[in-house]
């Protein structure tokens, strides 16, 4: 079978690209080694949270400053308008997660250790945690759930730098008896879906919180019915309730993965996990087929275009071997941000600027990986997400923003092959 596009990678960037292409009538195949970073990251769409040490209030307004300091950043290929268009499209394609937000304004949500973190688009269940307006917050933990420590969160948050006064306190509740004393986020979320934990929580919080308090709970309100549970909590308690993202596995991230893959499957798109794309058949500077290894051996999938969304080092899209050589693992593409003949030496301080932090592929404005000469390696290969070099997304708080925006932009470039290259508007 041949495809219009093969997408390599089932993280946020790959799924966004695949869904956009599918929606526009393409026959798409998604192949991936496994689920992507959706299961690790909070489902917030962080477009740009920091430029250096400066906390960003408006990602769109801060783009010039970002690009001044990081000229090879993936956002250089997108204008603020295109960024906004991609994110707006995403907001309407995220199922019941119900994103709100804009590229013009960051909200500040508390992390599980009590640091206000800037995000541009957030799921409905998290939006109530915006700290900018201040207020009285209470953070609720569940006994036995080890990945959320409300007291530390509250104590840190009370001392955080915020535009309006915030008070915070912690509360630990003991959920109805469970045979398990070691609770993961997935297990607690499952109990919200099936054991009616939401009703218990309403009863438990009604007496222990004041009507003007804003209630933060760990992001475990369910995998399937979180939106309904959250809604029931807000109406039942008549208080604002919100989820706080915590350690992986990320329950809201899994919801997002499920929402995107469900739409793909409904449209007949195959998502094949547990396989490895490695290599291509090439003719006249174009990829004609992608080679995919599965348990029974290699299969070659003829295709019109390819989106490489295989991730960075964390997802295996990049690898550094013990001799200090960095490789792009699917097509052996040229990389930027890697040391040449010099052996990589990481800096001695954990928070220092680290070599390889910006490693990845460089692209043209159509997001096609380019070689040292600046020309596309393959005319029909596009890259999206964490495989793109030039960003330090975990420091910038830009990872999910890059994935959504470039996943969408890669799809657009494939859908309109003859369109004029996008102007590098924001430089």
């Amino acid at each position: 079978m041949s495809y219009d596009t093969v997408v390599v990678g089932a993280g946020l960037a790959g799924l966004v690209a695949a869904l956009r292409l599918t929606e526009q009538g393409q026959r798409v195949l998604v192949v991936a080694r496994g689920v992507g970073a959706t299961h690790l990251a909070p489902a917030t769409i962080d477009v740009l949270g920091y430029v250096g040490e400066t906390r960003v209030e408006s990602p769109a307004a801060a783009l010039p400053a970002l690009l001044a300091g990081s000229p090879d950043h993936p956002y250089r290929h997108l204008s603020a308008e295109r960024l906004a268009a991609g994110l707006a499209w995403f907001g309407t394609h995220a199922g019941t997660l119900g994103y709100t937000g804009s590229v013009d304004e960051n909200v500040l949500l508390p992390t599980a250790i009590g640091v206000p973190k800037p995000s541009a688009f957030v799921p409905r269940t998290m939006a109530g945690g915006d700290l900018r307006a201040g207020g009285r917050f209470v953070f609720v933990g569940f006994k036995g759930f080890k990945d959320f420590h409300p007291a530390l969160l509250a104590d840190n948050l009370a001392r955080a730098r915020l535009p309006a006064p915030v008070t915070a306190r912690a509360l630990v509740l003991e959920p109805p008896a469970s045979p398990r004393g070691d609770l993961s986020g997935r297990v607690v979320a499952g109990r919200f879906d099936t054991d009616g934990l939401g009703d218990w929580l309403i009863g438990a919080l009604d007496k222990r919180t004041d009507p003007d308090e804003i209630i933060g709970v760990p992001a475990v309100l369910g995998l399937r019915d979180a939106d309904a549970t959250w809604h029931a909590l807000e109406t039942g308690l008549e208080r604002k309730v919100f989820e706080v993202a915590t350690l992986p596995p990320s329950v809201p991230g899994i919801r997002l993965f499920d929402a995107l893959t469900q739409q793909l499957r409904e449209r007949g798109t195959s998502i094949v996990l547990g396989v490895r794309a490695a290599g291509a058949r090439v003719k006249d500077g174009r990829i004609e087929a992608v080679d995919v290894s599965n348990a029974t051996g290699p299969v070659s999938h003829p295709t019109g275009a390819v989106v490489l969304a295989s991730g960075g080092f964390a997802s295996g899209g990049l690898e550094l071997d013990s001799f200090g050589v960095t490789r792009e693992t699917v097509f052996d593409l040229p990389l930027v941000g890697v040391s040449g003949s010099e052996r990589v030496r990481f800096a001695a301080g954990y928070f220092d600027d680290q070599p390889l932090a910006r490693a990845g592929v460089a692209t043209d404005d159509r997001l096609r990986p380019v070689g040292p000469d600046g020309h596309p390696v393959y005319a029909n290969l596009h890259a999206a997400g964490a495989i793109l070099g030039g960003a330090v997304p975990w420091k910038e708080k830009s990872g999910t923003g890059i994935s959504v925006a470039t996943g969408y932009a890669a799809a657009e470039a494939i859908l309109a092959p003859n369109a004029q290259p996008v102007p590098e508007a924001v430089r």
Partner: protein
């Protein structure tokens, strides 16, 4: 331990031990068992120096059988004693010496002769049998020999000794630095001590002061105007994920760099190198040494460079030399040295015990306390060869599956804080209480918290949250603890960061910076 937080204006003791490595706690335990009142001071945590940074090999003596027969004899004798008295610290992995294609197979004959002469049980086995036992070992080995090497947990050993000493009345004071030795004429009568935690200073008056500071023994001796020449021989170790070998696998050749690979708890460790360093506190890991160990590992276990390296660290051997300088530190004897400064420099009440190796720590302690007895009114018999260590009373050797076996009957009975090392919440809380510490690094040394594949990616937030919930620390200290641990961990991670461990490190970056944003915690 609870005692370390008690204010101390001054202490009286028969014996003051300086140094909290295996030798120091061994001396303290030995002295306490003989009925002497004993105080031990250590400038940092117990086992924070050489002991906690060695490869973990309980020598059979095979390694020294050819070139250092007396060291070999000591090793096999102590090996047998520790199996009996420190069973919970010893895993009976067995040891195997192999002749790889890079080693002269005839050395095997010398090896067998040396083992026979020194009483180290050694048996040649067919190569096919060796490969059956160790399927990952280089299939081109030409000879293989079995010896009773074992894997020794240095932290369990040190804490077992320390608890045992305390049970017999000793006071063990980690984080207590010696500021100076107190002299009365030509006699050392005690030391001036500062608590590194509270800043409080106090004196310890003792009849005998035993300098067991290992590679730092020269610095302590200087305080009494005595001279102890200890060279610091830095050795690099790399912990690899999982056990690539079941036994302690040694190259059958003259001891050299990177020729030992042994299982230690959930990991395996390759060692080591030997580089003279002028200052035992300055142990910079060089890329060339990392590459050397990886290349030597590749000779023992093909594919070693693709295996996952978790952590690298360097320890310093205390190498005693009495006279002229020696070029190669490995050629300095690995036997220990007991120095009575009354006969050397005319300073009474002051002994130095240094050199040696962890395998023979008990013997070193015995000889030091024997010498101390002479200054304390006469011989008292040593009991450490018979009395088991705290935690080893049942004489059951440690097995890798012990923690799992303890958890399995009631799966998920409580939170598992560290999945890599199967550490439960109550285990963590008990350790905090018992040790009176809130330093994650101290807790790591007792529990192995954060020493598995994720290097703390998941457990550090949890452990910090639990410490803070316990009410013993406020958020400022909690944040410092977490950030300090991340920096400390990075020191051992960044030198070997490649392959799957870089992948893990990037995931940890996402957790700490992307999800929690610890970089912007309030100062």
């Amino acid at each position: 331990m609870a005692t370390q937080n008690t204010p101390l204006s001054s202490l009286e003791a028969d014996v003051l031990v300086i140094g909290g490595g295996s030798t120091g706690v061994g001396v303290a335990r030995d002295a306490a068992l003989r009925g002497y009142s004993t105080v031990l001071v250590e400038r940092r945590d117990l086992a924070d120096g050489t002991t906690g940074r060695f490869h973990g090999l309980l020598h059979s003596g095979g390694r020294y059988a050819v070139k250092d027969p007396s060291a070999a004899r000591e090793c096999i004798a102590e090996n047998r004693i520790l199996r009996a008295t420190a069973a919970d610290c010893v895993e009976d992995t067995g040891g195997m010496f192999v002749s790889t294609p890079w080693d002269d197979p005839e050395y095997g004959d010398l090896f067998l002769e040396g083992c026979k002469a020194t009483g180290v049980p050694a048996e040649e086995i067919p190569v096919a049998e060796a490969l059956r036992r160790e399927p990952r070992v280089n299939p081109d080995i030409r000879r293989a020999f079995l010896v009773p090497d074992a894997s020794l947990d240095p932290w369990k050993l040190v804490w077992g000794c320390a608890r045992s000493a305390e049970e017999h009345g000793a006071r063990i004071l980690p984080y207590h630095r010696v500021l100076g030795l107190e002299m009365e004429g030509d006699r050392v009568v005690g030391a001036r001590i500062r608590s590194e935690r509270s800043g409080e200073e106090f004196g310890v008056h003792a009849t005998v002061v035993i300098n067991a500071a290992g590679a730092w023994a020269g610095q302590i001796a200087d305080l009494a105007h005595c001279t102890v020449n200890v060279r610091a021989g830095m050795g690099l170790m790399i912990a690899m994920n999982h056990r690539l070998v079941h036994m302690c696998v040694n190259r059958c050749k003259r001891p050299a760099d990177g020729d030992i690979l042994l299982p230690l708890r959930t990991a395996c460790v390759i060692g080591t190198t030997d580089v003279f360093v002028p200052d035992p506190d300055e142990t910079e890991i060089r890329q060339a040494d990392i590459d050397l160990l990886l290349d030597e590992g590749e000779k023992l276990v093909p594919g070693f460079r693709q295996a996952r390296a978790l952590h690298a660290w360097a320890g310093v051997r205390p190498l005693f030399e009495d006279t002229a300088a020696v070029a190669e530190t490995r050629d300095v004897t690995r036997s220990h040295a007991l120095l009575d400064h009354s006969s050397r420099e005319g300073i009474a009440g002051f002994l130095t015990i240094t050199g040696g190796k962890t395998t023979t720590f008990r013997l070193m302690a015995e000889s030091a306390v024997d010498a101390a007895c002479l200054q304390l009114g006469g011989a008292r018999p040593c009991r450490t060869a018979e009395v088991p260590l705290a935690g080893s009373e049942s004489h059951v050797l440690y097995r890798i599956g012990n923690r799992l076996a303890a958890r399995e009957p009631v799966p998920q009975a409580e939170e598992i804080v560290c999945e890599c090392e199967l550490i439960t919440r109550s285990h963590l809380e008990e350790t905090v209480k018992q040790r009176g510490t809130t330093s994650l690094d101290d807790i790591r040394r007792v529990t192995r918290l954060a020493m598995g594949p994720c290097q703390g990616g998941f457990c550090i937030y949890r452990a910090t949250g639990i410490l803070h919930e316990g009410g013993t620390i406020d958020e400022t200290v909690a944040n410092q603890t977490l950030l300090g641990f991340l920096e400390e961990r990075w020191k051992g991670v960044h030198p070997i960061l490649h392959g799957d461990q870089l992948r893990q490190a990037r995931l940890d970056d996402w957790i700490f910076q992307g999800v929690l944003d610890v970089e912007h915690l309030p100062a």
